[in-house]
C-alpha cells in the first residue's frame, strides 16, 4: 500500500453533479479493492490552458488514495474507458509529503476566482 495522487478532468458538457458521481465511482472502486481515501477535492469548473478533445473547460477532481499498485493500475484502465473523463494523472507520493490541509487550488477558489 502506498499513497497516490489522482487528478482527473471531466468533459465540459456534464454537470457538476455528474462530476461528483464520477468521483464517487472512484471512491467505491478503491474501497472495494481494500484501499482508503485520504483526501477528496473538487477544484471546480476551470478553463483549460489549451483545448483537449475540443473542450475549453473542464471539471477538476483531485484525490489522495492509499491503495495497492494493482488497484491503481486497474483504476487507471477503468478511467481510460470512461468517456466523460478527458485526462487523468497518477502520481506516487511519499508518506512525509502527505498534508492534511486543503491544497492551493481550493484556497484560490475560495478567494472568489
Amino acid at each position: 500500500m502506498s499513497l497516490y495522487e489522482l487528478v482527473f478532468i471531466a468533459r465540459q458538457e456534464i454537470s457538476p453533479v455528474r462530476a461528483k458521481e464520477l468521483a464517487k465511482k472512484v471512491i467505491d472502486f478503491i474501497t472495494t479493492k481494500g484501499g482508503k481515501i485520504k483526501k477528496e477535492e473538487y477544484w471546480g469548473f476551470k478553463s483549460l490552458a489549451y483545448q483537449i478533445k475540443k473542450n475549453r473547460k473542464g471539471h477538476y477532481v483531485f484525490f489522495i488514495l492509499d491503495a495497492s499498485g494493482v488497484a491503481i493500475h486497474e483504476l487507471g484502465s477503468q478511467i481510460k474507458l470512461t468517456q466523460d473523463i478527458i485526462r487523468h494523472l497518477f502520481i506516487k507520493i511519499k508518506e512525509k509529503d502527505f498534508d492534511k490541509k486543503p491544497t492551493k487550488m481550493i484556497e484560490e477558489n475560495e478567494d472568489g476566482k
Binding site: 487528478v7 478532468i9 483549460l48 490552458a49 489549451y50 483537449i52 473542464g58 477538476y60 485526462r87 494523472l89 502520481i91 491544497t103 492551493k104 487550488m105
Partner: protein, 91 residues
C-alpha cells in the same frame, strides 16, 4: 586622511591574498531558503514566476535556482502542463 591610508592598506592586503577587491554577493536560491514554498504542480502561482511570458521554463542562471530545485521545478511545470493548468505555448 587616516581613513584613506587605512583603506589603501586594506586593499593592498586583498591584493596580496588573491582576494577580490570588491565584494561580489552571491545570490542564493529563492527556493532553498527556510520557509520557502514547496515546489508542487498544484501551486500554479509559484510556477508562473519561473516561466517566461511565452510559457517557457526560465533557465536557472537567470532565476538563480539551485540545480536540485530546478529539476523539481521543471518536473512540476511539465505535470501542470499535462493537466492543462499551464500552457505549452503562449502565443
Amino acid at each position: 586622511m587616516e581613513n584613506n591610508t587605512i583603506m589603501i592598506e586594506l586593499q593592498k592586503q586583498d591584493l596580496k591574498t588573491d582576494k577580490r577587491p570588491y565584494n561580489f554577493k552571491k545570490r542564493s536560491c529563492p527556493l532553498s531558503i527556510t520557509g520557502a514554498p514547496k515546489v508542487d504542480y498544484k501551486n500554479i502561482k509559484l510556477l508562473k514566476k519561473f516561466m517566461s511570458e511565452k510559457g517557457k521554463i526560465l533557465p536557472s542562471r537567470i532565476t538563480s535556482v539551485s540545480t536540485k530545485k530546478q529539476r523539481e521545478l521543471s518536473k512540476a511545470i511539465k505535470r501542470a502542463r499535462f493537466l492543462a493548468l499551464l500552457p505549452y505555448v503562449n502565443k
